[in-house]
């Protein structure tokens, strides 16, 4: 006996909702941002920092964070083509229908910075899950005092979200700084790893919430720099990446010591995962 699945029905949460790609924007040589809209039942409204499982018909499913939440039911996802499923999703032209499950995970909860400073530090593709957090801060800018956005990428060609960068840099109430690891003569900005920017901005340690996302090595050095600036590890949040196949804490792949990253994270206070992240795997 079979039944047509409703993704909210008895077989949820493993059944994908159908979403149509409505736009596709090339960010870098291997990374695109797609926006999708629901064809039938939508997923629950996601929060910044959560992720979805995106399915390319017959090819595979991957965890991808929300890089855009316009608030009209559409979902933005920024995808780097590194495997078969991500390549298929990144190649999805407008009109393609993909599967979406989620939202999963806990989110940044940037509202916890209420009344204080927010420092957002992004490395490379790590800016994708942070973009909705930046916009959440700007949407309620009065709730926060100083807001800082530090962005590092490998090269100028790896910079994403040019329109957003222009919009963010145009604001006087957001301190945006960008650096690249290496550049040729066409680049007039900063050169160096993102931690060099941390030493440069004013930090009021007891009153700052930091949100950090990037490659794991970048997060390790960034959290160290932030702690050197006086931040408490409990006030530094990182978003971790692990193999995830279900999103609901059942498949076991995403374990990090006691944590089920898909369920307990992907956002963690650094104090909670620092020791486990330092355990050598071999």
């Amino acid at each position: 006996m079979t039944a047509t699945a409703t993704a909210t029905g008895p077989m949820a949460p493993m059944v994908p909702h159908r979403y149509r790609v409505v736009s596709r924007h090339t960010e870098t040589s291997d990374t695109v941002t797609i926006h999708v809209e629901p064809l039938g039942d939508p997923i629950d409204a996601p929060r910044p920092g959560q992720f979805a499982m995106l399915w390319a018909f017959g090819i595979g499913e991957v965890p991808i964070s929300f890089s855009g939440l316009p608030g009209d039911g559409r979902l933005g996802h920024t995808i780097r083509a590194v495997g078969t499923a991500t390549s298929a999703l990144a190649a999805s032209e407008p009109g393609t229908v993909i599967g979406v499950r989620g939202p999963f995970g806990n989110g940044w909860d940037v509202g916890d910075a209420d009344g204080g400073d927010v420092m957002i530090v992004a490395g490379g593709l790590g800016l994708a899950p942070l973009r909705p957090a930046v916009d959440a801060v700007l949407a309620e800018r009065d709730r926060y005092r100083r807001a800082v956005l530090l962005i590092g990428t490998r090269s100028p060609d790896d910079l994403m979200f040019h329109d957003d960068l222009a919009r963010w840099r145009g604001r006087l109430d957001l301190d945006v700084q960008v650096t690249v690891d290496a550049a040729d003569t066409g680049w007039h900005g900063d050169v160096g790893v993102v931690t060099t920017l941390i030493g440069r901005v004013p930090v009021e340690p007891g009153n700052t919430l930091a949100l950090v996302c990037g490659p794991e090595v970048m997060m390790r050095f960034t959290t160290r720099s932030l702690i050197d600036r006086g931040l408490d590890a409990e006030r530094i949040r990182v978003s971790l990446e692990r193999n995830m196949q279900c999103g609901v804490g059942h498949c076991g792949h995403c374990q990090l010591g006691p944590e089920l990253v898909c369920l307990d994270g992907p956002v963690f206070a650094w104090s909670r995962v620092a020791a486990q992240s330092a355990v050598r795997e071999r």
């Binding site: 047509t4 077989m11 018909f57 017959g58 595979g60 499913e61 692990r242 196949q245 374990q255 369920l263």
Partner: protein
């Protein structure tokens, strides 16, 4: 509704009573699953009558070794944990989660690649006959994994909620058993509908069963089969069977705080030692009644119009278990074995409020290298262990 402890007084079933119980269940539409002898091992399978039970069979289990043996009585449940656990039925090794169909390219109704998803909703109705205390505890632990959190697994829920559990207190633990020290047996404390204790008689006379209902469904079943009231002597005889089993545990898990020990021992040299012996064959995770990891696989037909999402058992000893673009986080056997053991006995508490081990001994028996989980803990605990003075 399930209740802990006996819902009504115990009764005694003879072979005819047990046979009637099986017939009643089959007549009511249950698939009665019980241990059977197949391929030189105890294997859970559908039975059609009491005659299908492994009468007079026992087993001999040691690290890396499993053999059936003939008993000198006619016990039907005179052996320890069968090769595989009930996990196979509640959480099958391979399940199709759903299928999707889309019209072929170029067809008139094709709406830009739109697809339809269908799920299978057939639910089995299992009666598990012969589940041991360790196995019932294992089911309760998997309940926490698949039903106890924010998300529930619909397939597991359907199979589990309908399943009837007729457990049997253990009489014949193996050399690899250590349920007593995991507080998981040999007596069934909860989680069953009926609990039997088999009392074998010498000279191959028919065994008999003390039967206790642990739920309303169990009590209803017992009322429908011929039985006699349990005399104090019968109850004593059954108690003696379980007490004898408890006294003959082959192994013991060291009495230490395993969660604390393992969280403090992540760099212990023993991980290198066990990595030399472990083959990363995944056998321990497959036979473990609580291991729950799974992977999903997409299957398509050649036309690209049909797709299927399958879920299959996975193991933390697979290289791709921790794969992230570019490589695996745990790429060596040292870290794989450490993940398995620290999860099973340590971080399982953080995630599910219980140990992930029930002391069934399967991982010891079915390890081709004979690695013994209790021995590994003893080695890691080392000086933590207090020598017990006799």
């Amino acid at each position: 509704m399930k209740v802990d402890g006996a819902a009504s007084g115990p009764v005694v079933l003879d072979t005819a009573g047990l046979a009637a119980a099986v017939e009643t269940l089959i007549g009511d539409g249950w698939s009665v699953i019980a241990p059977t002898v197949r391929d030189g091992a105890m294997v859970h399978d559908v039975i059609e009558s009491v005659a299908d039970l492994p009468t007079g069979w026992g087993d001999k289990q040691e690290p890396g070794r499993y053999r059936l043996r003939r008993r000198d009585d006619s016990a039907r449940f005179g052996y320890a944990a069968p090769a595989q656990s009930w996990k196979r039925l509640l959480f099958p090794p391979r399940t199709t989660l759903w299928r999707a169909h889309r019209p072929p390219p170029g067809s008139a109704d094709r709406d830009a690649g739109d697809f339809v998803v269908q799920v299978a909703t057939a639910t089995p109705r299992y009666a598990f006959l012969g589940a041991r205390a360790c196995e019932v505890r294992a089911i309760e632990i998997q309940d926490r994994v698949f039903l106890g959190g924010a998300h529930t697994d619909p397939g597991y829920r359907a199979a589990r909620e309908s399943a009837l559990v007729i457990a049997v207190n253990c009489s014949s633990p193996a050399d690899t058993c250590f349920c007593s020290s995991m507080d998981a047996g040999p007596r069934v404390a909860s989680g069953a509908d009926v609990v039997l204790t088999e009392v074998a008689e010498p000279q191959h006379r028919e065994p008999w069963y003390l039967a206790e209902a642990f739920s309303d469904r169990g009590a209803a079943l017992l009322r429908r089969v011929p039985s006699a009231a349990a005399t104090p002597e019968a109850i004593d005889a059954a108690d003696a069977v379980v007490a004898n089993a408890a006294a003959h545990m082959g192994r013991e898990m060291p009495d230490v705080d395993l969660h604390e020990l393992l969280s403090e021992s992540l760099e212990h040299p023993r991980w290198d030692d066990v990595a030399e012996r472990c083959l990363a064959c995944t056998s321990c995770t497959l036979v473990c009644p609580t291991c729950f990891c799974s992977s999903v696989e997409d299957v398509t037909d050649l036309t690209g119009t049909e797709a299927r999402r399958d879920r299959r058992w996975a193991s933390c000893f697979e290289l791709d278990h921790s794969y992230l673009h570019g490589g695996s986080i745990r790429s060596g056997i040292r870290s794989m074995y450490r993940q398995w053991l620290t999860h099973k006995l340590g971080t399982w508490f953080d995630q599910f409020g219980t140990s992930g081990c029930v002391g069934c001994g399967r991982c010891v028996t079915w390890c081709p290298a004979g690695i013994d989980i209790t021995e590994e803990i003893r080695a890691i605990a080392g000086p933590h262990l207090q020598e017990v003075t006799p």
